[in-house]
Subunit: 482 residues, 2 copies
Amino acid sequence: MEQMPKSKTIALRQKLIGPSCQLFFKKDPLKIVRAKAQYMYDERGDAYLDCINNVAHVGHSNPAVVKAGSEQMAVLNTNNRFLHDEIVICAEKIINTLPENLEVCFFVNSGSEANDLALRLAQIHTGNTDVIALEHAYHGHLTSLIDISHYKFNLPGGVGQKDHVHVAPCPDSYRGKYRDNQHSLDETGYLYSEDVRKICDEIKKKGKGVCAFIAESFLSCGGQVIPPKNYFENVYQHVREAGGICIADEVQVGFGRIGRHWWTFQHYNIQPDIVTMGKPMGNGHPVACVVTTREIANSFRRTGVEYFNTYGGNPVSCAIANAVFDTIERENLRERALVVGEHLLDSCQMLAKKHKCIGDVRGCGLFVGIDLVEDPISRKANKKCAEYVVQRMREEHILVSADGPECNVIKFKPPMVFTKENVDEVILTLDRVLKEVRHQEHLDAKIKSIQNQPQGVPTVETHATKEHRPRRALIEETIKSI
Amino acid sequence: MEQMPKSKTIALRQKLIGPSCQLFFKKDPLKIVRAKAQYMYDERGDAYLDCINNVAHVGHSNPAVVKAGSEQMAVLNTNNRFLHDEIVICAEKIINTLPENLEVCFFVNSGSEANDLALRLAQIHTGNTDVIALEHAYHGHLTSLIDISHYKFNLPGGVGQKDHVHVAPCPDSYRGKYRDNQHSLDETGYLYSEDVRKICDEIKKKGKGVCAFIAESFLSCGGQVIPPKNYFENVYQHVREAGGICIADEVQVGFGRIGRHWWTFQHYNIQPDIVTMGKPMGNGHPVACVVTTREIANSFRRTGVEYFNTYGGNPVSCAIANAVFDTIERENLRERALVVGEHLLDSCQMLAKKHKCIGDVRGCGLFVGIDLVEDPISRKANKKCAEYVVQRMREEHILVSADGPECNVIKFKPPMVFTKENVDEVILTLDRVLKEVRHQEHLDAKIKSIQNQPQGVPTVETHATKEHRPRRALIEETIKSI
């Protein structure tokens, strides 16, 4: 499958691909040549247990999905100006998982395209332009979405905050503005929602109305944050009173990832006006969807402006999405996410008892975060520890990543075929890695000593000539010597 | 392949899919269940000769493309944060077709995503926001692109013209502001480019600079318009003098459609700063690309903001794009476009001598337009005639469409596997259809009489019960009776 040596792939990548497109493990990136279920394989045939690719929802290279895509591709792939069965079957499957008010689908190619259309629908329907989004939120790579994504526009080189954008505090009861060590969870939910009410009031004071409130139902880039139970209910009420509509961004967290429900917003007592879905929908194939109410769809229709998306809802994309739906049901992947996810959560909580660098463990189903801290009282984020864990786990051939505003939250969002045995492997390894960093005071010295040794961190130029996993051996030696 | 009767597909579509997503032949839409090369087949097995689906560039269900996609799908489909060979091979193929200054690729999922990123790159690089686009131009369905697409924002229900958007006249020497019956072609090119210079001057007068000039190299939605030879060269000079960069939108017209060149901008003596490509790139699969200069890519890099596009440049998309490239070369499809396209153009010009409703025939390769007029002197657009032609050709099982600001231009942009025999079939049929409308004064009466007959235009509710092609028989009777 490999068509050139890794060194050449790296050289061509550096030469030809935009330098803003970043690689995982920049200093020694992985070349992945195949993947199956919850495993990815590099060019040497080494397997990596995949805890991060939520897009490969029903498992990498899922045979049923591949079959559906290949068969449809061989027969027809055209635009939705022609009638086709796959698109209406897909729409029916989606609608059947949603509350009754959500009854009209627009098919697009990516979560970004979905969120852009959602905002456009909101603007047309409400006639307003002021959007409320959350601190640390990410909603996509398009211009309109970077504008509302605090995670992006607020970066040092970011575009900054536009006038029509309002940022509400991230409803994170662990490390946000209102915390569970000062308030009850209900109180934090109420206080966070009050901040949204205040934004609504300010918009109203200016004689304007709200266009939309948009939020992920659980926040992923924000650091695997689970808003308090009463948060969205209160927020939706305030937003609607101010003339706005409510958009649930389910691009990362939808399609049964949390187990109990198809959609994470169903964890709350709310009915969004628009739901956007993407990533897992095509198991890697570019397909996404915006679902909304008849009323909002009709507002768009009344403009007389056609919506045409060249590939949106094409027969191949929809056949694949239908196969993803069927696979989730046939293989009981939602139940599995619940059972395996609970085991993961329990195991992480056990680990938290052993390692004081684990400040918080939170999650639901196969959406779990481990919040690493310098000490559990101050809750000061421990980014270095997270970096160390991600790197060391990779050396142990387990792929995890870190996110959150301070990059200190280890994220788990594996393919839904993840097993209890996989959890045990991850936990055992993580336990071992965290033991290495148990003595916080030694961490800096360790990393420093590794970095100072020339073969410690292979560079892009030379790594292809390195021996297998030199860094691991090196670290083991380093640790033994401490 | 059909999973439900057409009537049920229609009913579900009406119920579940956004009403702004329009069907071809709204009153009696086509249900297409399979397609091969330049033919599409409806649920009854009837074949339609496809003159409109430029997306199916190397032919519907092209076996080499299907094989590449299916094989890659079965092995790996993941994001480009992992190294993979297909993406760098694809980038290399693209770069090899372009001038030296265009050397950095960003992979995305659609022409819309490509144009959005192009504008973003332009803003970051120039620090300016004022965009110059053309009258009647269409650059995509995203918020940022509808803002610059006169074809969309200027509709009665459109969003209107934003302050940062400037619309230059469409460089159409047949029915635009400056015409070939008043000026030489060179003069029209100069005059149209002067209008862009004036816009640049106005922007400069306000103490600002230009962000970007964006145009399709040949204008498709604008009515198959071919700008004069000297137009872009002059325009690019003015735009660059005003601090702007130049974007060539090749989403519709790229990948050898015009035969002589890989990219239509190469028809002109210009070097764009950014080229966007999409539709034909994946032969129906969602893949697109932005290619730019090292300098512009570095401006983006310097912001420190990562560009991550979940599916952009994934192994399946790139394997498919690579197969499209290889197929174009292996099957000499550019040469074929040139030869078949010349035959199409010649044949249309022959037809123009017979039918005074053909005001202009223009094109290059397999990008051809027939401009239908009420009379050749005034050049008044004949929309009714175009509607009649599109409908009648469909009854003859040939798919053409009409576009342009007055919907009077019959567009040909068939799959590149189109043959001379296909051209002859189209021309013979078109000749026959145009004979039917030869007597302009009878046209209205004919259409009216057809519409007044209850079975004439099957409605969405009842058409499934209609006999095969009732309208054709009806029209033939009508014509005989005249």
